[in-house]
């Protein structure tokens, strides 16, 4: 079966700034693809190109079997796009917003569908409330309800859980998994590592370039990072951060509470770097596995170095 999203060499420039640079991506049906990368890395731009809101300057690709350049009308029919910023009408009620979307899509049995969506949302009792008066978590649920109303084949979610509390985020992801189980394909951008870990596959983007793609384990393994964890007295740990960061072979030193994660791309070099400190009596060392976050920060730092190296 052909992939739901398949793009090759996708490029987008704003003025002389290349925002997305020869980007390749494949997403299979029913998959939840996590889309990660620092702010301004081009995630939103890629999503907008996929659903026809931006015209790519280079590259080609298809979305749901339609060419992204010429088939945007057909793509729009079968895609649900949830924008980063709440973009429903704040001066319409919850029901009126859903009703508007349902009418635009020309859904049969519109009122029943809207009522069902309201019920599933748990908003049936507040359906006459203005959308603008909802809290962040409810706005996000409403936006999701609006973009799945027409039962799309592909969901594009742009940082859907930014600024939403952990419980609401958990529920949101349960919903995403339920939708994917029903055959919907999901591309979701996020900054949260725990969310990335709930995706089937992830793609990591920095400076418009795809740096890594695969399952979480594959991406972590692919980063080639090895890690030590060290615990000790608070004051010693605080000083240790600086001391370790200066050593060759150490790429990252990050405190997690009382534990320090020390990582480097070359296992031997890292071992040599930490060796002098391993003798210290009040420090406890253990080999750790790098987290996804370690992998990402490492990928990004390396991308930074590459750019400087290229004189960019």
């Amino acid at each position: 079966m052909s992939p739901v999203i398949e793009v090759r060499g996708l490029t987008k420039r704003f003025g002389d700034r290349t925002v997305v640079d020869r980007f390749d991506l494949q997403v299979a049906r029913g998959q939840i693809m996590g889309f990660l990368g620092p702010n301004g890395s081009g995630k939103t731009t890629v999503i907008r190109m996929l659903c026809g809101l931006l015209v790519p300057d280079g590259g080609e690709g298809s979305c749901l079997g339609h060419d992204i350049r010429t088939g945007s009308w057909a793509i729009k029919q079968r895609v649900g796009y949830m924008t980063q910023r709440f973009s429903l009408y704040e001066d319409l009620t919850i029901r009126e917003n859903l009703d508007f979307v349902a009418r635009l899509h020309g859904l049969p049995e519109r009122q029943a569908k809207v009522a069902e969506a309201l019920k599933r949302l748990g908003l049936a009792g507040r359906k006459e409330q203005l959308a603008g008066t909802l809290s962040g978590g409810w706005k996000q649920r409403l936006a999701l309800a609006a973009c799945v109303l027409h039962a799309p084949d592909l969901l594009l979610l742009d940082e859907p859980t930014a600024g939403v509390d952990p419980k609401a985020r958990r529920e949101f992801w349960d919903e995403i998994h339920a939708l994917a189980a029903g055959g919907m394909t999901v591309l979701v951008s996020t900054h949260y590592m725990d969310e990335a870990e709930r995706c089937h596959r992830i793609a990591y983007l920095a400076y418009g370039k795809l740096l890594a793609t695969g399952t979480v384990e594959e991406v972590v393994a692919g980063s080639g990072l090895s890690t030590w964890h060290v615990t000790g007295p608070e004051r010693r740990i605080t000083r240790l951060v600086e001391e370790l960061a200066r050593r060759p072979g150490v790429a990252m030193v990050a405190p997690f509470g009382a534990t320090l994660h020390v990582s480097g791309p070359d296992a031997a070099a890292l071992d040599a770097a930490v060796a002098p400190f391993r003798e210290e009596a009040d420090l406890a060392w253990s080999r750790g596995t790098p987290t996804l976050e370690d992998a990402f920060i490492h990928l990004m730092t390396r991308a930074d170095d590459d750019r400087r190296g290229n004189g960019a």
Partner: protein
């Protein structure tokens, strides 16, 4: 609690920020320079509250030295410009009704012969008085013009006429508004002006509001065509326009006693075209403006010449040709002729058609431009 003291550095901080923002907003800057220039040009060169060279049709059924002298005198006076020599009385009436001429002069058969006999023949001058301001001064000058034309001919045996009562019985008909009531002209005109203002501003905000509130992205991501958005946004305002029309028409007839001589149906046709034309302009602005302030500024930019050059505030024929040409391009100019024509003159659809189709052309142009400007992407 102590009240913080006024500090210059904070004032300067705000002033500097405001200047930076002002410089970024080019349209506001253009307004600051543009509005005074436009006003100066319009008031200085275009607007004339004492209109001259008013188009005049003459029907001369007499071929005598006297009738020729009258036509020559009209021609050489600064108020009248003889544009048409009519063949019969019906043609005169029709031209007045269509507003092609401001004055129609009828010189009856045997004018010269009767004058020589001392019979004081009638000289009929019909003025289109729908706009009293446009005809007032010309009518006032008429007697002087006619006397001046006659004077050189009244010598020898006719010299007696020159001393006594006027040799010609000058009859002036103020058509459509015999009492010269200003409200008859202003109130129907106000309908067009108010519609222009409200319709354009309301729709000008239509797309910019979507953009400013961030709802544009969602709208564009859904399957909807530009024409569907455009006419969907315009349709409710046709109703708003209809309500305004009802209010103004009600007030016009009850408070100001403005007559409704013609068919309301004819007026309704003109109104519909005019309202939609204005809505389309507003929508066009909203596809160009980046924010609501700019949309308001563009509306004002359009409204200013509309009100000054359409013949609403100042007589249309009082403006020089270039200003009239600009005026002809504005829908309000044509609508004013339609509304005055129907309400005061009782014009039929055929008679107002010359002013309906230009509004249709305008509507079509604005729609095509707006759809071309409408961005279906965020590029």
């Amino acid at each position: 609690m102590t009240r913080p003291r006024f500090a210059w550095h904070r004032l300067v901080a705000v002033v500097v920020k405001e200047f930076i923002q002002m410089r970024r907003d080019r349209l506001t800057f253009a307004m600051i320079v543009g509005i005074p220039i436009i006003q100066l040009l319009l008031f200085g060169y275009a607007i004339n509250s004492d209109p001259r060279n008013l188009p005049t049709a003459v029907l001369s059924q007499d071929n005598s030295a006297f009738s020729r002298a009258i036509v020559t005198a009209l021609q050489s006076s600064s108020y009248f410009r003889v544009t048409v020599l009519a063949q019969d009385a019906e043609e005169l009436d029709a031209m007045l009704a269509r507003g092609e001429v401001q004055f129609a002069v009828e010189i009856p058969t045997g004018f010269g012969r009767n004058l020589m006999r001392g019979d004081r023949p009638a000289l009929l001058v019909m003025a289109d008085a729908t706009d009293p301001a446009a005809t007032g001064n010309a009518v006032g000058a008429l007697e002087r013009v006619v006397d001046g034309a006659m004077a050189p001919l009244l010598d020898g045996p006719l010299a007696a006429f020159a001393r006594g009562a006027p040799a010609v019985d000058l009859r002036i008909q103020r058509r459509y508004n015999p009492e010269g009531i200003t409200q008859y002209n202003i109130v129907p005109g106000l309908m067009g002006t108010i519609l222009t203002m409200t319709m354009i501003i309301m729709t000008a905000l239509a797309m910019t509001r979507e953009r400013e509130r961030g709802t544009m992205e969602n709208l564009l991501a859904m399957p909807v065509r530009p024409t569907e958005v455009m006419f969907g946004k315009l349709a409710p305002f046709i109703l708003v326009g209809a309500i305004q029309v009802a209010v103004i028409l009600g007030a016009a007839t009850t408070l100001f006693g403005v007559p409704m001589v013609g068919e309301p149906g004819v007026l309704a046709v003109g109104l519909l075209v005019f309202i939609v034309a204005n809505l389309a302009v507003g929508f066009l602005f909203s596809t160009i403006a980046r924010n609501q302030l700019q949309a308001m500024q563009m509306s004002f930019f359009f409204f200013l010449p509309s009100i000054l050059m359409s013949g609403f505030m100042f007589p249309f024929r009082g403006m020089p040709d270039w200003a009239q040409a600009i005026g002809e391009a504005l829908p309000l100019t044509h609508f004013l002729r339609v509304v005055r024509g129907v309400m005061l003159k009782g014009n039929s659809l055929a008679e107002v058609w010359p002013d309906i189709w230009p509004m249709m052309v305008f509507l079509l142009g604005a729609t095509v431009l707006a759809i071309a400007r409408y961005r279906q992407t965020l590029d």
